[in-house]
């Protein structure tokens, strides 16, 4: 990266604080955005990153403090007000209308008016130009629901680009993108900064963020703990400031590897059109063993795990749990036999938002505290308390609403729910998605601890560094098949090459 550490400050936060009742999300933060440069905001979940970005983009107003735009103090009435002044934001959660086309989504709320209503042809032309710039083959008339998640994120980015912004805030823009799509996005970011656009970037993917940023700001507990230009920092510096502790995802634990716990034979899973998403796959998992499945989006990891769990049905093949064929069993029966899945999307598939932390934790093991017709409150409380302790959920107690927890703690609740069923095989689909390093390390420690006690663990990931942590064995999936299998001494490059990913030189 070129050295661009100085530059005029276009937007700044001065002593900005935000409180929600008793909770102080931000405690007096100073933050500068320089013209034509990328400033990355690092911090764990709940550190206040998103709150700060929402304040800078006018979505919420600070409790105290000031926003300074081009040297003048300003107060944004709302997000539109900020957008009119050239500040736009790409939110972490996608905000697209799935039933509408790419074109209509990109121009939603600011349609181009022609002589006879909306000028669709002009809109379509502009979308094509944007997609060319993003090197993505998405037809402007495709409904958004037909796109895969990564492409939807591209649409979201295109929408922000279609407004000529001076300042563009990107909150986790790459969480669903493949490596090659991330490359393209970074190229676009470099083009934008060359044109004088300022970028604020937030990502949990630290290495990735380091390749693009000019400045690094670290938030912790609502305070700014460190600031430095790119030339003075490295990964260690960021992690040290983020968690104030050594960052280590662990190494493969010493375990007693037992008999084959789960055996997948010739498993094929078709999609709607009959194309195989999982294609004749074979895999054995032993008790006490930790296996990592690496692959790009669309490699078939999620389909494989969901089929084994019982959500999807296979077109061919066998799933054998501890010597018994289980393909015909319901999800509930599989859980009862000791096989359970921690799904990828915890909001959609993992948690019941209307229930408390405790009720979510006990949901999959209601049978364990049901006595005759009724549940035993005492036994349930016991189970919940044990779970909270086991997976170290930071919560006010079992009665707290699930929405009051940070992302990492919510993920621990989902894992705790599955562990409470006393499984012998646990599958986790992208267990680290959207959670911070501290929580990630704790999750991996939990899995390692489980394996030591004879649990068979299988988890999927799209971050290579997570393969090379606690896994004894690394399986690479590509187009529904196992393209390579490694032990824990393999290099990152080899894993990435086997996944069909282009390895940056």
């Amino acid at each position: 990266m070129s050295e661009r550490t100085t530059g005029e400050v276009v937007l700044a936060a001065r002593n900005v604080a935000k409180s929600y009742g008793q909770v102080h999300a931000l405690k007096g933060v100073n933050f500068d955005i320089h013209r034509g440069q990328v400033t990355t905001l690092f911090g764990e979940n709940g550190a206040g990153k998103s709150t700060l970005m929402k304040i800078l983009s006018g979505v919420i107003q600070p409790t105290t403090g000031q926003i300074v735009l081009d040297g003048q103090p300003v107060a944004f009435a709302n997000a539109n007000d900020a957008r009119d002044r050239g500040i736009s934001i790409i939110h972490q959660e996608l905000s697209l209308a799935p039933n509408m086309s790419v074109r209509d989504n990109i121009f939603m709320g600011r349609e181009i008016k022609g002589a006879t209503g909306v000028d669709y042809a002009e809109e379509e032309r502009q979308v094509r130009v944007l997609m060319e710039e993003l090197e993505e083959e998405i037809d402007p008339l495709t409904p958004v629901e037909d796109l895969r998640l990564g492409q939807q994120q591209i649409v979201e980015i295109a929408r922000a680009l279609s407004v000529d912004s001076r300042i563009l805030i990107m909150d986790e823009p790459t969480s669903a993108l493949s490596a090659s799509e991330v490359e393209v996005l970074f190229k676009v970011i470099r083009d934008l900064t060359a044109r004088g656009v300022s970028i604020v970037y937030i990502s949990h993917h630290l290495e990735e963020a380091l390749t693009i940023t000019d400045h690094a700001v670290v938030l912790r507990d609502g305070n700014m703990t460190a600031y430095a230009p790119r030339s003075e920092i490295d990964l260690d510096w960021i992690v040290r400031n983020m968690v104030g502790d050594n960052y280590d995802l662990g190494s493969p634990p010493e375990t007693t590897v037992g008999n084959v716990a789960l055996s997948i034979r010739n498993l094929s899973v078709p999609d709607m059109t009959g194309k195989d998403l999982v294609d004749g796959l074979n895999l054995d998992l032993r008790a006490g063993e930790i296996v990592c499945i690496y692959g790009l989006m669309g490699a078939g990891r999620t389909e494989l795990l969901e089929t084994v769990a019982g959500r999807l049905s296979a077109s061919a093949g066998e799933i054998v749990l501890e010597g018994r064929e289980i393909s015909h069993l319901t999800i509930g029966d599989r859980i009862a036999r000791g096989l359970a899945l921690v799904p990828e999307d915890r909001q959609r598939d993992g948690l019941v938002q209307t229930m408390s932390v405790g009720q979510n934790l006990s949901l999959a093991s209601i049978g364990r505290f049901t006595r005759g017709l009724f549940t035993s409150r005492r036994d349930e409380r016991q189970l919940i308390d044990d779970s909270i302790r086991q997976v170290t959920v930071k919560t006010a107690g079992g009665h707290a609403p699930i929405g009051s927890l940070s992302g990492g703690n919510q993920q621990k609740v989902v894992i705790g729910k599955i562990l409470a069923t006393q499984p012998r095989v646990i599958m986790l689909d992208e267990p680290s998605r959207g959670i911070d390093i501290g929580a990630k390390a704790e999750v991996f420690r939990l899995l390692a601890e489980g394996a030591r006690q004879g649990l068979a663990v299988i988890y999927s990931t799209s971050e290579v560094s997570e393969c090379l942590s606690i896994a004894h064995r690394i399986i690479v999936m590509h187009k529904g098949r196992i393209s390579a299998e490694f032990d824990s001494s393999v290099s990152k490059e080899k894993i990435m090459a086997a996944s069909g990913e282009s390895v940056a030189a």
């Binding site: 709940g46 598939d349 019941v352 549940t375 927890l405």
Partner: protein, 345 residues
């Protein structure tokens, strides 16, 4: 070790007066209604009047309990009013005697058999709803709307649009006792109110204390997550519609017994009153939130309000306006309670 803090804006909230009023709104509304009408009419605040009002509320109350289960599941059941009519007509037909042409005899089943068979009819219609929704993925609104018309149509066909008037049975045929449900009292309390109380308590226990109750709340809150946690979501779904249909049949029996007649147009728009009671009771139409206590309060608010308006001589047109206003107000409060609730900061 990690510095993560759970941002919990809703934790440690004070039980301010506003909060208390909001959470107990149905209860306070009921107290206010009783107070206002007692002030306006000396006839309102009497044991006799309360018992009469309660036996009227019983019909809606029984329907509301079934509706609550369906709404907790994230569905809606528009067919309960029609099932109520169909159940009444079926009971009426059986009381008049079932003619078996092949044998040339007319059967007069005893009352207990009439009750059991009628409940089976309700359950069967409910099962149709449940299967349409759970297995054929028909949206609940549409599925139960269709069944609403079909059930009403069948009831009209069975009677040719007429009403069965004589449900008392006769000693000679051994089928007396049908009026017991609607007229008898136990310790001064009408049987219908006792039936409602038993159903409400059973439903409350089931929701709060049984595994099924937990399954219902979970699958209403997030069906995908519940399914992956091993909850048999389809079975839960069918069960709630079956129970709702069965309770509609119970209400149909009680109503027919109270009126000693069964007509095919009984219970028209009752499903809407039941939905209103559930909503006033604080349940969310999106599923997963609500309880029996709230729904009972909702049913009594509607029943006591309209009865009060009758007693002080307000036109029935105004009753409709008032009831509507109460429903809108209730939904408004619901969105206040859930919209501003706990969110990740």
């Amino acid at each position: 070790m990690s510095a993560t803090t759970a941002t919990a804006p809703a934790k440690g909230r004070q039980m301010s007066i506003g909060r208390l009023l909001l959470e107990g709104r149905a209860f306070f509304a009921l107290i206010a209604i009783i107070a206002v009408f007692s002030f306006l009419s000396p006839n309102y605040f009497t044991v006799g009047n309360f018992l009469i009002m309660s036996s009227q509320v019983a019909i809606f109350g029984i329907l509301s309990v079934g509706m609550l289960l369906v709404i907790l599941n994230g569905g809606i059941d528009l067919s309960v009013g029609s099932i109520l009519a169909l159940a009444g007509v079926c009971a009426g037909a059986m009381m008049q005697g079932v003619e078996i042409e092949a044998l040339g005899v007319i059967l007069y089943p005893p009352v207990w058999a009439v009750v059991v068979l009628t409940l089976c009819v309700g359950a069967a219609v409910g099962a149709v709803n449940g299967i349409l929704v759970a297995f054929f993925k028909v949206p609940p609104f549409v599925a139960t709307l269709g069944v609403m018309y079909v059930a009403r149509g069948v009831a009209l066909l069975m009677t040719n649009g007429l009403t069965y008037n004589n449900l008392r049975g006769s000693e000679a045929l051994g089928n007396t006792g049908f009026s017991w449900l609607g007229f008898y009292r136990l310790g001064g309390v009408p049987i219908s109110v006792i039936v409602l109380a038993v159903i409400a308590i059973a439903a409350g226990l089931m929701l709060q204390r049984s595994a099924f109750g937990r399954w219902l709340y979970a699958s209403g809150g997030n069906e995908r997550a519940a399914e992956l946690s091993g909850v048999p979501v389809k079975r839960v779904k069918i069960t709630v519609y079956v129970v709702s249909g069965m309770l509609a049949a119970v209400a149909g029996l009680v109503l027919a017994s109270q009126l000693t007649s069964a007509g095919p147009t009984a219970g028209t728009t009752y499903e809407l009153t039941a939905i209103a009671a559930v909503v006033i009771g604080g349940a969310a139409l999106t599923g997963g939130r609500g309880n029996v206590r709230g729904t009972m309060l909702g049913a009594f608010v509607i029943g006591f309000l309209s009865a009060g308006l009758v007693i002080i001589g307000v036109s029935s047109y105004w009753q409709t306006v008032f009831t509507g206003a109460v429903i809108v107000l209730a939904v408004l409060m619901n969105s206040l309670q859930y919209g501003g609730g706990a969110r990740k900061g």
